[in-house]
């Protein structure tokens, strides 16, 4: 898989089989939704091999959630590319992590986190009995963090790419590359919500922070190419000193 996954369960009854159940779930997700796998359901949908009436249940759910997210974000979240192919990965990642956390809840665990590719769902307390502490990676030096967050039962997702020379295009101005913002972190009620809105907000470039500011229950920390950050008005309550 192209994405690192971390699971930590504090509850002492947890065993390797519980963590493996989470990893198996992610493997299932990858095999269904990865656009880089020839045999995945999404690839076969994009090739025309699988028709809409034959989508699996999980695929139907993802398409429905994607449509709802597209409406909520004024179209800035859109799984359709201009070539007519679908890529729902901007929603699937958070949704999968969220589902994985539900698997652990059903197994009876209360204190854990699930992290995949830098997006996180936390539950309960860490092994010191305190709220989980999450750092925001410095996009200019990945060995450093630039913010330390203290969160309880929330999801945290970071959108962005740390590529020099990255070109992200505003769909209304395709000739003009967006290079202003490098990293955008959203704190939401869960990681599914945080991820889909972080994805949409990043596509809005510097206006993304405004979108999140106007979204009740969400906070955001946005870093631009000049190492300046903007934060939503309720963000600092999560930033431990």
């Amino acid at each position: 898989m192209g994405m690192p996954i971390t699971v930590e369960i504090i509850d002492i009854s947890a065993g390797e089989q519980d963590i493996n159940e989470v990893f198996s779930y992610f493997k299932y997700i990858d095999e269904k939704f990865s656009v880089y796998k020839d045999t995945s359901e999404i690839t076969r949908i994009n090739s025309g091999e699988i028709k809409e009436y034959d989508y699996s249940e999980d695929m139907k759910i993802v398409f429905t959630l994607s449509e709802e997210t597209k409406i909520k974000t004024g179209g800035y979240f859109d799984i359709s590319a201009s070539n007519g192919k679908y890529d729902p990965s901007g929603l699937v990642k958070g949704w999968a992590i969220y589902n994985a956390s539900k698997i652990l809840e059903k197994l009876g665990f209360n204190n854990f986190y699930v992290e995949a590719g830098g997006d996180i769902q936390v539950s309960g307390k860490n092994n010191e009995g305190q709220n989980w502490k999450i750092g925001i990676r410095n996009p200019f030096n990945i060995k450093e963090i630039v913010k330390a967050l203290c969160v309880e039962n929330k999801g945290v997702a970071t959108s962005g790419t740390y590529i020099r020379g990255q070109h992200i295009y505003n769909p209304r101005q395709r000739n003009k590359p967006i290079t202003e913002i490098i990293s955008l972190t959203v704190i939401g009620p869960n990681v599914y919500e945080a991820d889909r809105f972080a994805t949409a907000a990043f596509a809005m470039a510097e206006k993304g922070i405004e979108f999140i500011e106007n979204l009740p229950g969400f906070e955001c920390y946005m870093i631009d190419k000049n190492s300046r950050a903007v934060m939503t008005s309720g963000f600092e309550k999560y930033a431990s000193v």
Binding site: E8, A81, G118, I134, N138, I145, I163, P171, M231
Partner: protein, 169 residues
Amino acid sequence: MLRKFFLSFFLILIFAFYVLFQNDRAEDKGAVFQASNKNKPVISTPDLSSNAPSKSSSPITPSQESQAPKSNSLKIFKDGEFIGNIVDAYYGNVQVKAVIQDGRIIDTRFLDHPHQRDTSVAINDYAMPILKTEAIQAQNAQVDIVSGATFTSYAFQESLADALIQAKN
């Protein structure tokens, strides 16, 4: 899990090579690159004043960077352009080209990188309060987990490592 091991190994390899050829002496300066650490990373660096990596975490000092290798036999890398393999960065592919001159990496270029998904329609015009801004600063805090757009970084390192292996003398 195995993939994580190889990524960590390549990252350490890059930095080991980089330190070695920046330094005329044969001994390794003990450069250690801490790959993304899931167990309470402790990061201790001075405040950021620019985009450059802070000196305490980088093994390269300015005086070392200005030293040129004395002879071809000390060069770790051959001169030229070396293209790394294509690496799945989850959101797309990454492929890196390393340009080596006088045994040093003088440039890295992206031959392929993830493209933003197409979107459509305008964003509503909101009335905005003034939001707080700040210069980002490295924190010394101990955290349990780190959030970041990591895939592309790992993919970049992996593709670069592959290019450097080809460049190795």
